[in-house]
Symmetry: D2
């Protein structure tokens, strides 16, 4: 446990000031690659649109997130943070944020961060709860307990805690564990039992005061739509995930970058000349296939959706089922978001020392459980996150990151420039919900097209892109404002 932020910052003891300094270097470099966020600081800094906002964030505590947090602060917000994943924290980034940009551990510039690399699940939910507790500031206000009035979420765990907490507060008690409950759900229940004991109306208060949540990912968005469909959503939500500048950039260009990076760091195998199999030709698969072809691989794609399959064919890729070609495949990459896309039978059919990696979703895209249960199979660690599985056939395969997202496990995930797009959407969404609550009754929204275009616009200068401006008569001819938005909502890009 390298970093723990306690609640009262003046008393906070940073484990490692050198770590904070290393983080500060990286933040500075990342700022250069996150022009959207830096432009927002310049544009909105003087206006302080988030003055008064108390934002609880639950999102991977990386260097890029550090730039996001400091942008929110620069726009007037007060912020508390937890990670949304037990492994993804970059400790130097967390340390730097706690210490603050120009400050020392005792200076007021820092932001409380509850995150470190390698949390237990217990610690994880304790951290998440801590990010909601502004009570130390409450001393000044005299209130009993103070929570956030905005949430910035990734995956929906912060939102879940509020909804469950309020539900149990309304019921007067947290239910007992049930036989089928997962380990994590038991920990959530235990966490809420504790908070209910401490502050019986904590989550009810939060639910009332929160003006909205902005959600980063597919999974979290999915949960929000379900809550809303069931009439249980407690506050408005903006679905950042489906902004064009998020989904089409993050998925396609992020993976194009991090997939070959992960293969290289994990295996040092020449991709050129190899046969690579890409399961799924959505945005992630499109980026993966392009990256592998760009390195000289022959790429074979599989698809269940005939439209995407036809796109793959028109882009020049062979489209085949894995079982038809497995014995010629050197590299298998899953990009689907579905389960058991690579079965044990598939694995047994691959070439000796074929590489298997997942950039889709959970580790169940590959039947890792089935592989582990295979009689006679042997798992040998070549290095961290790279395992040789020796099969009963006498052949082996190399599995990256235990079947989990290898672009995170074997590389460093999305680069800063890609995250700048996502996070600029996040900040604009926070401003929308916080400053125009009347425009957002409870519901799930995507950002207005104009803001989506704005996100893109803020990233052009850094790439030397010269945008053309419509003349008024041209704008009139195609019936759009000169300054946009330029496309109907259903436009596919």
């Amino acid at each position: 446990m390298s970093i723990v932020s306690t609640d009262v910052r003046p008393a906070y003891k940073v484990a490692d000031l050198a770590l904070a300094e290393a983080g500060r270097h990286q933040i500075r470099l990342a700022e250069n690659e996150m022009p959207g966020l830096m432009a927002l600081r310049e544009e909105y800094g003087p206006l302080q649109p988030l003055a008064g906002a108390r934002i609880t964030g639950s999102l991977h505590m990386t260097v890029q997130t550090a730039v996001l947090i400091e942008t929110l602060v620069a726009l007037g917000a007060r912020v508390r943070w937890a990670s949304c994943n037990i492994f993804s924290t970059q400790d130097e980034a967390a340390a730097a944020i706690v210490v603050g940009a120009h400050g020392t551990p005792d200076a007021p510039a820092g932001v409380p961060v509850y995150a470190w690399k390698g949390e237990t699940l217990d610690e994880y939910w304790w951290c998440t709860d801590r990010a909601f507790d502004w009570s130390a500031e409450a001393e000044a206000t005299g209130a009993d307990w103070v929570g956030p009035n905005m949430i910035l979420d990734d995956g929906g765990d912060a939102t879940l805690l509020v909804h469950k907490g309020r539900e149990f507060e309304a019921a007067g008690a947290v239910p007992d564990d049930q036989p089928g409950d997962s380990e994590e759900y038991r920990i959530i229940l235990a966490t809420l039992r504790r908070t209910l004991a401490e502050t019986p109306t904590r989550w009810t208060t939060v639910a009332e005061e929160v003006q909205g949540v902005t959600e980063e990912t597919t999974t979290g968005v999915h949960r929000l739509y379900e809550l809303f469909a069931r009439g249980e959503l407690l506050f408005p939500a903006i679905n950042v995930n489906d902004s064009v500048t998020k989904s089409k950039f993050d998925n396609k260009y992020g993976i194009r970058h991090s997939l070959p990076d992960g293969i290289n760091r994990a295996t040092d195998v020449l991709i050129g000349g190899k046969v690579a199999f890409v399961a799924g030709y959505g945005d992630v698969g499109k980026g993966a296939a392009e990256a592998l072809r760009g390195q000289g691989a022959r790429v074979i794609v599989s698809e269940v959706d005939p439209i995407c399959a036809l796109q793959a064919a028109m882009d020049g890729y062979q489209v085949a089922r894995l079982e038809s070609v497995a014995d010629e495949v050197d590299i298998v990459i899953t990009c689907t978001g579905d389960v058991d896309v690579i079965t044990v039978d598939d694995i047994l059919s691959l070439k000796h020392l074929a590489i298997i990696g997942n950039v889709g979703h959970f580790d169940n895209e590959i039947d890792m459980a089935g592989l582990a249960a295979l009689p006679g199979v042997e798992k040998v660690e070549i290095k961290p996150q790279v395992h040789e599985w020796r099969l009963p056939t006498g052949r082996s395969v190399l599995v990256l990151s235990e079947g989990r997202l290898m672009n995170l496990g074997n590389a460093t995930g999305h680069p800063s420039f890609v995250m700048s797009n996502s996070f600029t959407n996040q900040v604009l969404a926070q401003i929308e919900l916080y400053t125009r609550p009347e425009a957002y009754p409870v519901g799930v929204y995507v950002l207005p097209k104009a803001l989506d275009e704005k996100v893109a616009r803020l990233h052009l200068d850094a790439l030397g892109v010269e945008l053309t401006t419509l003349r008024p008569e041209q704008a009139a001819y195609i019936n759009v404002p000169v300054e946009g938005p330029y496309k109907p909502d259903h436009y596919r890009y």
Copy 2:
């Protein structure tokens, strides 16, 4: 005038049976490239879903359209056809359709076609009107006048005639020409004056009997949405243009094919090593840029939409305004759908003998009028559809197809395989509107996602694509039916 179909087929005299035979050869080859239509014949032929349908078609009378028409007939429809453009008819295709697949001029297999290459505007609207008149068949029924019960439209001219005709019939008279009326509008009015004289309730009848229209293009779709917004739309419409398998295929892959084809046929200039400027990075621009890069050009893109501009940058293209780079540009291609994208000043700045072509929309994407009005300019025909414009600067430029769509004027437009996607959408849309009228109250619809996916599915075998099938537990995991549809409506592909 090479082909005119008169109404009474037994008496019809085909100008040129050899022409019809040549057309039949081409239709046979095109059938091999239009697997979607051929699959529909196989699937629906026995069911005859269009039995009873009288379809008036207004769409370019090409070889591909011939395969469409014969597919409609194979599904039970009776069909009458006009072209939607005075230049686009391929006479051999028209002749072949009139003669019929296996028939002779006297056999019943033929379909009345009112179209020939190089119509006058007068002839054009006469042809369109003729495609509505089934009265010869009416003799048998005893009805006064018989029109269609379905329309298949491209650009909306057939739909326009019905709406205007019914409006004037209701008013009791066609209005007089007004000073600002265009030449074409005067011809439309004259046409309707004649029909009103002949059959005073002709268009009222049509408007009542037509179950719906399926519309091919952006322009026609735009008109339909406007009619509907004003409450004037008379029957339901399916917007075929915005099917994924139309817009993303037609625009991107069609242009990728026909743009270099047109440049080559027009100029025989080596594209490799040249600097090519692509104005607009929508689907058309994406296809254009890919084609030019694939031939070794260095491609510079311009955009007004920052999202598309960012996509262009992420795809590795320089993004610049034309005025910044005009003096290094060898080839300029417009892909915007807007006006005056290339101004006279731009033209004056280009390299000597730079090539200018338009694959976007109308000839006003390039300021052709301004160019012609330039003092001292001289226009020299190098060959048909290729003109050297000698500029007062001493330099020249080569303008393709007079600034009109050069992929049509200098090449042969979209190839059959691309049109097979569009036209399979058309046929499915006709079946929807004709067989399930209750599902389509007056309004403008896109095809259900399942049918869009079906269109793609029908084109896979021809390309050797092996589609993967979801196992039921996989379908359940991502919450879609095994057989699709697989994506939410807002999915961007």
Copy 3:
């Protein structure tokens, strides 16, 4: 026969001045695409290095060749020309050259050209002989018969005529036809019998006076090396074919341009999504594969040379034998220079209406004879140079240009910019041999590296290429002159 140039130009009657004017337009456009030749005119025009040269040329009489001829004239040479192929003459180019750049049929600017599209073999060899006969000029000199002192050859026919003629003159007679002689060889013998009768020492004189030949192609170069190896070569030769700026540009970038052009003009079939098979991965195959991939095809390559096969794999292509994949192939392109690369069995295995084209060498790359001899086969002309062969299997294939070079037969061959590279080599080679005979004892040479680099240099400005200049200390460090040459002779580029 549209154009015949007789020897005495004042009396020459041009068939068609309009044709000459059309040719002149095309020459003017081609000049813009042939910057190497135009730069030579500028650099060497004032120096007249070819003053006194009498050049007999035997090379396809196209628009590009017209620019070559006028460059030779601009450098001081007198020129006579024949085509090296009975079909390849562009009559408008021939007419323009005969008429001359600024002239009329009676003006002195024209050059005698003996070439028209569609010669018989008799006419072909008569034309070749005519290009050698400068006797009309001899009247002034008083000599009996005057021939060239330089030859510019393509394929070696002009060189062959001199060598055979001299051999038979030395023997005192042309031998009788022998049973196994080809038709063409009999015509050559007949031609030489006639010249021997007219001027018994004609070819002996030519052989003595010619300072050298510059040869354009592989075939001609091969003949030259054989002649030299047998000790029979009569004058020095420069092998233009193996200049880097010829072989690596012509073959790769020329085919990249003209292959898809030919497929499009011949068939209008969408290349995207198709499976294309490229036989041979030399420079031609590399260009072909790149072009097809650039249009979205999936490309499969075959090779016999393991080095080229490994290159293809490293470039991301599947490498397979045709028989392994024939049943999934839509387009077959031969790029080998060998015989029977596509056998009848291969053809029988292809998909219905698969397209077969040759860009390698002769029509025997495809077993056309075997195909024609197949029992039950039927050949249907779809249009000129495009034939459907209906096979006994019930399937068909489309054969382009009867199996001959389809980039010539269905498209227009190499574009001007590519030919500018070849022809600039030709002119520099002519200058070398003519002005520095002492440097070239009888033998076969490639152009010095410095001239090869010069050819490239002269093509850079037109493409906007900025060349970097070595600083003297940089040149010293890598031990090359500042101005080049920069690479050892064995460098592979």
Copy 4:
């Protein structure tokens, strides 16, 4: 100093058996990626062509080299090894080789290796000398001193030591240090003073007994040609560097792999959308440009050689001088082998935080000395091998690997598959020189084309490449043997 092999293996103490085991894992994985070497073991193992060979190797002691060494041993050779670079040893590979494939430290399978990561120059030359000393084996033979009869060299240091040693032995003494001598040369002299004292005819013996050297790199080959030109070369040499399967694969495909890998590991910066400048478009530059474009960068190339410049343009790249575009460049990569390609002025003109990396040659491609001497410049280590240089302009640049080869310093160099090509050439060259000494009088040779093709052939199966076999009549037609070689020596691939 992690590993030192002393001369008497039974007494050798391996520092770290766990290290050896880790190396053995990596060697096993590398074997799968080095099919050429494994195929040689299978083909030649039974024949033992290197029985009796005593090979002194001087080449980076990596995992790949381990597979090379064990291949030489499998073919009968006895081997001693030093690294050719003080930093490049992978200690686990060295340890594994010393221990031997199946052995223990006391087993005879190991090979003496004198190499560890981070040698001093003193240690380096001591190691090199040790690799020549087989005296421990001499006890059995009774000879005074025993050296190698073959050398396998990379960069020529082993060859240099023999030549200098013999020269000084002949002179009777090693000369005194001179004022201008480099530090390294003084160390070489000291080393030779010591050997002369120990064994006065050591190098004379070696020079007599060595049958030849096979040299890996450009630098070493250059030295060999110079020695030969001066008549000082003491034994024949095979230039492995200029085999096609070395130069065209190593340089192009190796860099395509390791360049983006190095950028990613060093900076995690998104390459997509960035402007990348590639100095030099030889094989290395071609691979670099392709890799960067494949990741979505816009690539600008510079060249001094007009032929390569024209190739770059034809491949679709902008070609410009750095000073013309420096202010839009995000990433600069040098691929030239020349000095001061990036000057301090260039560096001052780049964008803030532009990345500078060298994959060409020495660190002097970038004027690192000039940069360090710039008044006011500040160097900040971001992490090992990544430094921010803060410039007096207020901007910074990131320099990778201190200007040395960043594909080695920031990534892991050429992957195994690429090295398998080089090393298969090495082994075949060793067999040639050792088994056919009569065929190689003193001189510098490249491998016969047939062996070059063989190297390629041995790498095809691993990639699933199906080679086509010429039929005898096809081979006859193009006048090559059925089994090759297929191309003339000057063929450029």
